[in-house]
């Protein structure tokens, strides 16, 4: 794996956004060859989305030939509910950029047949040629998407019931009323994300530090599903100082020492303006 450690949340968000920007531009997406991007929700990626929007508004990045696949969505929450992941993606990303609506894919938590909806989502990913870069976060319990502790590490897109930890963590978005938090979600599986050609995990904040430790310094374990990416050929973890608090000093020093190598991935930061013919 690559472990990229930045001083704070803003720098980590910016590094991640630059990385995504460079990957998209280097790919030279076109109408015949879309860049497929897997996307997360939650508070961690907000800074990254803000930077990506900024790059778009400056004319340096276009999402015209990008297809997106979100990781998850609540079951039974109306699509226009302010806490649905559709609302999140619209307000925090889609409405500010030039992505075409038919190129965005979010699981429908109100589908009449949830199982069929999950299977169809997997097929859409396949039809799009697989995911080029899957961006995700990590829960305090080490979960990727909503693959709660105990999820199969080869799982596919399916319905999942949320763990208590996750419901409690989400309560802050529902007026701190546990009874209003949805208990089921549709989520991509660990296996679905493992199929991506590259995986980027964003981890910031001291409350995620223990999960990061379990994910990268302990063994592959279905109780900490992010640990599955130890077996992915191309994973990059981007974190801030606080998220490294539970790691060994040796681990942190090693990867910090590699920053000059990592930074070559984001410097120079490319722009579509350079590729306009």
């Amino acid at each position: 794996m690559r472990l990229v450690i930045l001083d704070d949340y803003d720098l980590a968000s910016e590094w991640a956004a630059k990385y995504i920007r460079n990957r998209i531009i280097q790919f030279k997406p076109s109408a015949d060859r879309y860049f497929t991007l897997g996307l997360p929700t939650g508070s961690t990626p907000l800074g990254c989305y803000t930077k990506l929007i900024e790059y778009h508004k400056n004319g340096d990045l276009s999402f015209k030939y990008v297809k997106t696949f979100n990781m998850d969505e609540y079951v039974g929450l109306p699509r226009d509910h302010p806490e649905s992941y559709h609302s999140y993606m619209w307000n925090n990303f889609f409405k500010h950029i030039d992505i075409e609506p038919q190129n965005t894919h979010i699981l429908d938590g109100n589908a009449s047949n949830l199982q069929a909806e999950c299977e169809a989502f997997e097929q859409k990913i396949t039809a799009a040629g697989g995911i080029e870069l899957f961006v995700g976060g990590i829960g305090p319990d080490g979960h990727i998407a909503f693959n709660e502790p105990g999820s199969s590490l080869v799982s596919r897109t399916r319905v999942k019931t949320l763990a208590k930890d996750t419901i409690v963590a989400n309560a802050r978005f529902f007026g701190n009323d546990l009874s209003r938090v949805p208990t089921m979600t549709l989520t991509v599986g660990v296996g679905t994300v493992m199929d991506a050609r590259e995986v980027m995990i964003l981890i910031t904040g001291a409350h995620k530090a223990f999960a990061l430790y379990k994910a990268i310094e302990e063994g592959v374990n279905h109780m900490w599903t992010v640990s599955a990416f130890q077996q992915h050929p191309r994973t990059i973890f981007i974190c801030d100082e606080d998220a490294t608090l539970e790691l060994r000093v040796k681990t942190v020093k090693y990867f910090k020492g590699l920053m000059h190598v990592h930074n070559q991935l984001v410097e120079p930061t490319l722009s579509v303006k350079d590729y306009m013919d």
Partner: protein, 404 residues
């Protein structure tokens, strides 16, 4: 990009680079319009996979719902209370001109007049949608003749009336028709007014208290019978007294039925109300404030002598008096001037000033589900203003109907 909308093929316009008045705050958001209504872009994106056909750059300006004037007696030489030979043409002229002031809907107001005037004029002043020809007519505001003699202000005394039996009979005999009527101002202390108030509010007509000597308990009783508005607060009513608050006391009355709001009109032209009084009323009951112009025939005209109802008035600068007296005879301020003046003297937020001229009048008339807001699905009647709250463009049903 190929058109890809499943609900409608009508063109979609997206107003960008603007601050819109939404949820009582000015927010940097785009405004989307289709088929004359405000469109929900999230629904368009996810349900229809649709996108805008045209983008309009608003240059960082403010977009607010169009102003609604519920008390305007005429302007530009037109007097709504006169049975002229071309009543509809007169209304149309005013409706067109007030687009410049950001007014997209209004209630043409008739002052106290003899029954034959009402019988002639009311059927001609039909409610109609606005458009490029002018602001929309929501309905007529009948200010009188069932008002107090002592507080008649500029209204001609010989045409004042009282309720004989009360109720429908008096109303019909006087007015002839009640179709097209949106509001009636009356004095609740007149005997038998209760039946009239109930009759009118039962028909969905807003009942307003004004030109009255009523004390607070009479006013409260009227509210309990269905009155919801006060016509030009402070003017033409008993002054506030600390042991006898009068109609003004409705602003903080504890006898208002739960769930009901009493709205009050204020002429913020810098003349009809002292700024300190404006502030007292606003601070006591900010949610009820409705800015009105009470504009008279001479609004928009040069200084001199003009006709209002059955009387003559004199214009001197920004003042309009009953000819030969110092009794104010309505104002010649425009709605946008009132909004700016109110904001300046009350120190309120831009949002509060804009809502006092749009959201609150819509709520008063019970039409806030389609006018007075920029909520999805409501009529796309809006104005573009700069930071000095000067109106730069006016839109009705999503179409630009005036620009500076």
């Amino acid at each position: 990009m190929p058109s890809n909308k499943s609900v409608s093929d009508a063109p979609i316009t997206q107003f960008v680079n603007c601050r819109i008045l939404k949820n009582h705050k000015l927010q940097w958001e785009d405004l989307w319009v289709r088929e004359g209504k405000i469109l929900n872009p999230e629904k368009l994106f996810f349900d229809e996979k649709g996108f805008a056909d045209h983008k309009v750059d608003c240059g960082s300006k403010i977009i607010a719902p169009g102003f609604i004037d519920v008390q305007i007696n005429g302007g530009y030489g037109i007097d709504f209370s006169q049975a002229s030979s071309d009543i509809r043409g007169g209304v149309a002229l005013v409706a067109k001109k007030i687009l410049e002031h950001g007014v997209t809907s209004f209630c043409p107001t008739l002052v106290t007049s003899p029954p034959d005037i009402y019988h002639k004029v009311i059927p001609e002043l039909r409610a109609q949608d606005g458009g490029p020809e002018g602001a929309g007519v929501l309905g007529i505001h009948l200010e009188g003749p069932f008002i107090s003699e002592e507080k008649r202000g500029a209204h001609p005394p010989k045409f004042l009336r009282t309720f004989k039996a009360g109720g429908v009979a008096d109303l019909m005999e006087t007015y002839g028709h009640l179709d097209n009527v949106a509001m009636v101002t009356l004095a609740p202390e007149l005997p038998n007014s209760a039946a009239a108030i109930r009759e009118l509010s039962g028909r969905g007509i807003t009942v307003s208290l004004g030109h009255s000597m009523a004390d607070l308990s009479q006013a409260e009783e009227a509210v309990q019978n269905g009155a919801t508005f006060i016509t030009h607060l402070f003017n033409a009513m008993l002054p506030f007294h600390h042991r006898d608050p009068g109609i003004v006391g409705l602003l903080t009355s504890d006898h208002i039925p739960p769930g009901q709001t009493v709205y009050y009109g204020m002429i913020a032209d810098g003349i009809h109300t002292h700024p300190a009084a404006l502030r007292i009323a606003h601070r006591a009951h900010p949610a009820g404030l409705v800015l009105v112009t009470d504009a008279v025939t001479a609004m928009g005209l040069p200084p001199g002598r003009h006709t209002l109802g059955q009387q003559q008035i004199d214009i001197q600068g920004l003042h309009a008096y009953v000819a030969g007296t110092t009794t104010l005879s309505g104002s010649i301020a425009t709605m946008d001037m009132c909004v700016r003046h109110f904001r300046e003297v009350s120190g309120c937020t831009v949002e509060a000033a804009l809502e006092a001229a749009s959201l609150h009048p819509a709520q008063l008339l019970g039409i806030s589900h389609r006018k007075g807001t920029l909520e999805y699905g409501t009529d796309a009647d809006f104005i573009v203003l700069d930071d000095t709250l000067t109106v730069r463009e006016t839109y009705i049903a999503g179409q630009q109907v005036w620009r500076k």
